[in-house]
Amino acid sequence: MQSDTTPSQVTRTTVTDNIVEIRDVYYSVGHRSIFSGLNLSIPRGRITAVMGPSGTGKTTLLRLITGQIRPDRGQVLFDGIDVSQLSRRELYRLRLRMGMLFQNGALLTDMNVFENVAFPLREHTDLPDALIRNIVLTKLQAVGLRGAARLSPAELSGGMARRVALARAMATDPEMLIYDEPFTGLDPISMGMIVRLVRQMNYALGITSIVVSHDVDEISILADTSYLISGGKVVASGSFVELKDHESEIVHQFMNGLADGPVPFHYAPAPDYFTQLLSDDT
């Protein structure tokens, strides 16, 4: 692929076996602390899952890794490059090495499937139309949607939209693919297709994958390593079996889908139930 800029122009600090390293990251929104001393590493060439209850900052973590937001403190390193220190131009260079699959696909609604997949190629390369056509058809064939090339995004099911988005994310052959809740709202067949594609893409192309999800069953068959985040920190990490056997209460509650536990069923700041029923206050 031709590109007008090269990521190697960005200065690297260290090169390790981890493509992403989060070091002692603090991040708050207003007075609400999202991360307080978060540390985790994403090994190169593997599928890493990031799990956690809703609202723990899984998507925020992805936004930190991709440089959409900057941490209040700490380092977010991609291939040794501190993402939070980059200018917009440098960040865009770096993002050519990443692909991201959004929860809803985020396909461009004024273009059909073919043009959506061709979009990053047309924006970043001077390739002739005939070559772009071949690349797009190859990517669509890989996700099983070559026959849907002329459909508009509105004509696609949720699962199909995500597969098109995956083909688009793969169009520029990135080194790392990030999946934000890829299984949400899908039927079992579509879910199975996405699981298969994530594995195929990762190992056939030798890339790194980060999957943010709270679908424990899918993660169990997909991820090589998993992190469980809660309360702004990593509370457990390791293989799926290690997480399943973890002694922490929060890990046990999450992995077994228990309704009550360290994450309470009732939202905390509420007065006593009977006192409130008998009073006039709402």
Partner: protein, 256 residues
């Protein structure tokens, strides 16, 4: 004391908003040279903002012209000056009604379409997806739409004025019996090039302002259904108020 504090707070918010819009405009202007190298994107937006607004502009132009014809005739005949209707109508349409009414219609049709389109792109992560593909949404989405709108409005205003004059003569000449030769010859004799350029300058300014407000409101919309709705409403309200305010200021400067 509270009133002063509220007033100060409102003024501060207003200053912040003006600053944010100015920064956004400067960001778009920085991208302008690169955006011009892809004229197909701009032409597409001229079609969306301009061509798709043609019907509403033409219908409104005929009726505004017809009303100007009726009211103008009613007033001028009291002084036996109905032959001058062409001059009065042409000046009113060229200098005031054409640019202002077209801008208000543009804000209502194309402005709301731009704001809601960009706002929905924000709400459905399309703009974030572009950023993740290392494509600057300001360059790819905002600038072509801004340019498309800014170019379309003066063209629409000229069409509105032409159709409006047709509406005036339809009522004055065809229906009320004003002499056609006097109507057109007096108009040709009295209307100067300055009158045309005044209207053109106004519509160019309104084109920039209406497109900027629409694109900015859409781009900064809160990514929810309510947020997009609010951005669309704000586009119409802010554009209408600014158009009327600027029209007064420009008229005052032009008449000096």
């Amino acid at each position: 004391m509270n009133t002063f504090r509220e007033l100060f707070e409102n003024l501060r918010e207003f200053a912040v908003a003006v600053g944010a819009v100015t920064m956004f405009l400067l960001r778009m202007l920085r991208h302008l040279p690169r955006a011009i190298t892809r004229p197909s994107l701009i032409v597409e937006q001229i079609y969306n903002s301009g061509a798709l607004s043609l019907v509403i502009i033409m219908i409104c132009g005929v009726f505004i012209g017809a009303v100007v014809g009726l009211q103008g005739y009613e007033v001028l005949q009291r002084f036996g000056a109905e032959e001058s209707l062409g001059v009065g109508a042409a000046l009113a349409l060229l200098k005031e009604l054409g640019p202002v009414v077209t801008a208000l219609l543009f804000a209502g049709r194309a402005g709301t379409a731009l704001a809601s389109e960009i706002g929905l792109m924000r709400a459905t992560d399309q703009l974030t997806a572009m950023e993740m593909m290392a494509v600057d949404p300001v360059l790819r989405v905002a600038v072509p739409r801004f340019l498309g709108g800014a170019i379309s409005l003066p063209l629409l205003a000229m069409i509105f004025i032409g159709i409006g004059l047709y509406g005036v003569q339809l009522i004055a000449v065809q229906q009320l019996g004003v002499d056609a030769a006097s109507f057109w010859s007096q108009m040709r004799a009295a209307v100067r090039v300055d009158d045309v350029t005044d209207g053109l300058v106004k519509s160019c300014v309104f084109g920039v302002v209406c497109s900027l407000i629409a694109v900015y409101e859409g781009y900064t919309a809160i990514p929810t259904a309510e947020g997009v709705g609010r951005a669309t409403t704000r586009t119409v309200v802010i554009s209408a108020v600014l158009v009327l305010m600027l029209n007064y200021m420009l008229t005052a400067v032009m008449l000096r």
